[in-house]
Amino acid sequence: MGWVLAGLVAWALGWLANVWLARLPKSRATGLAVPVIFGITLLVMWECFVRGLDVPSVILPPPSAIAARFAISTGILWQDFVQTVIKGALSGYVMGCGAAFLIAVAIDRFPFLQRGLLPVGNFVAALPIIGMAPILVMWFGFDWQSKAAVVVVMVFFPMLVNTVQGLQASERMQRDLMRTYGSSYWQTLLKLRLPAAMPFIFNGLKIATTLALIGAIVAEFFGSPIKGMGFRISTSVGQLALDLVWAEIVVAAIAGSAFYGGVALLEKAVTFWHPSQRGRA
């Protein structure tokens, strides 16, 4: 009971601290402190509730156990990270987003494709990974290549939809202006439609970051070499080494957040002019 109470108190304290911090003038420090306090609050509550409610550690280990496991397993974690994130997710992300982008431009260029390929594209890209993964493993083998292929399939659709929508986002007058210059299709694309599409494109890129990670990890459930985050997670669940499972999840969360944060930073630099960025200096 004491632990549960402590958890509730931690929640109240964290909330109050954040409300207080958010009222302060916005600065780098508060911008960093608020999510960190939020996170710490969450962790403390987790620890307290797991202990207070006697949750078996084969169901949900407390954060302290996860941290301890993390500390002694850095070698394994790093090896898995390289296999899954660097080789699988990142390469698939680049290829998938790149392909979706090019196809979106092609779709946009040829109305024929737009009417033909977009519906078919919706169809193909909605193929669920659970079904795709075994097939892609069969086609591309056990190593990271098949994981990258799964990631390509996963990120393709969000990126395609957002880019197609974005390419239609310029305003009538802005397009008319380009027409008065007798601007070629490619010039209009480069100087008007792509810049105007950027807020949408970054939407797609951001969503795709987390999808890429999920895809690369999940694909390893369907066959893999004996390293990689997905391999470790599924194997460790079977061995009831839940602390290692969560240590891998922590790595995934950190990698994913950093990945997402990087794309968001890039977005800020590229679409600084958009009201959604401009409003918040």
């Binding site: 305003e171 007058m173 802005q174 008319d176 202006l177 380009m178 027409r179 008065t180 210059y181 007798g182 601007s183 070629s184 010039q187 100087k191 008007l192 810049p195 950027m198 679409t271 600084f272 002019w273 958009h274 401009r278």
Partner: protein
């Protein structure tokens, strides 16, 4: 008769809207000769913008024909025959003022040094030197309008289509830009189609003033100016000027609903 740079024959344009068709232009006939400075004046909503957009091939007429430089409006547009100033500034928010102005030059393939020189020159002309690095939302309404004028002047089109370019400017700047525009026109012998709401401005600038009237949009009067080509600002106080202005005002009033 000299060759028509712009020739509209029995032009019709009807917009289909959710509550019925709007006759924006009906039976419009007009010839604009090389070197003409033609102003369009008329009540709001009478079709001035629409007519200009037809010349620019931004709207497709639903009837009649229009030629520009002797060819179809579309071909003229593709050969970059004109510069267009929109009624609203329409700057691209992701480009600084300087890069907004250089946009058409980049598209038309001018070389780097030339672009720099031209941008500097036209920004100077509209009194925006020093604002090159600002973004559009950091400028006042009038400044944005001037940037958009600079953008259309930066390249050397023989035809200028200007839709109320000086609407958001104060009298002094306006006078200044009026003079500059006349000088430019005189020097380069451009053909200019110019929409305005100001009667004195129309009279001061034009060789011909086209008065339009709404519902359906049509031309009700074309007034030839008898003023000399060379016009100091104080020509606006001469009886000849006032006489033309009076005729325009009468024409304009006829197209309005209210008596006042």
């Amino acid at each position: 008769m000299s060759m028509s740079i712009i020739a509209a024959r029995d032009l019709d344009l009807t917009f289909q809207t959710n509550d019925g068709p709007v006759h924006a232009l009906k039976g419009v006939d007009l010839d604009i000769a090389k070197g003409d400075f033609v102003s369009f004046i008329g009540p709001s909503g009478c079709g001035k913008t629409t007519f200009l957009r037809c010349m620019a091939d931004l709207e497709t007429p639903t009837g009649g024909s229009i030629t520009v430089n002797g060819v179809s409006a579309e071909e003229a547009r593709k050969s970059r025959a004109y510069g267009y100033v929109f009624q609203a500034a329409g700057l691209y928010p992701w480009r600084t003022i300087g890069r907004n102005v250089s946009l058409p030059l980049e598209i038309m393939g001018y070389d780097k040094a030339d672009i720099r020189a031209r941008v500097a020159r036209v920004l100077e002309l509209v009194d925006l030197a020093g604002f090159e690095k600002k973004f559009p939302w950091q400028l006042s309404g009038g400044m944005q309008q001037r940037a958009s004028i600079a953008r259309a002047l930066a390249f050397d089109a023989d035809i200028l289509l200007m839709d109320e370019p000086f609407g958001a400017l104060d009298e002094i700047v306006r006078d200044h830009l009026n003079e500059q525009l006349l000088k430019l026109w005189d020097r380069t012998n451009k053909t200019i189609a110019f929409v305005t709401h100001s009667i004195p401005e129309a009279v001061y600038l034009s060789t011909r003033i086209v008065v339009m009237s709404p519902r359906p949009g049509r031309i009700t009067d074309v007034i030839e100016s008898t003023l000399p080509r060379n016009r100091p600002l104080d020509i606006r106080d001469t009886p000849e000027f006032l006489e033309i202005a009076h005729r325009v005002r009468e024409g304009l009033r006829a197209g309005h609903a209210y008596e006042g």
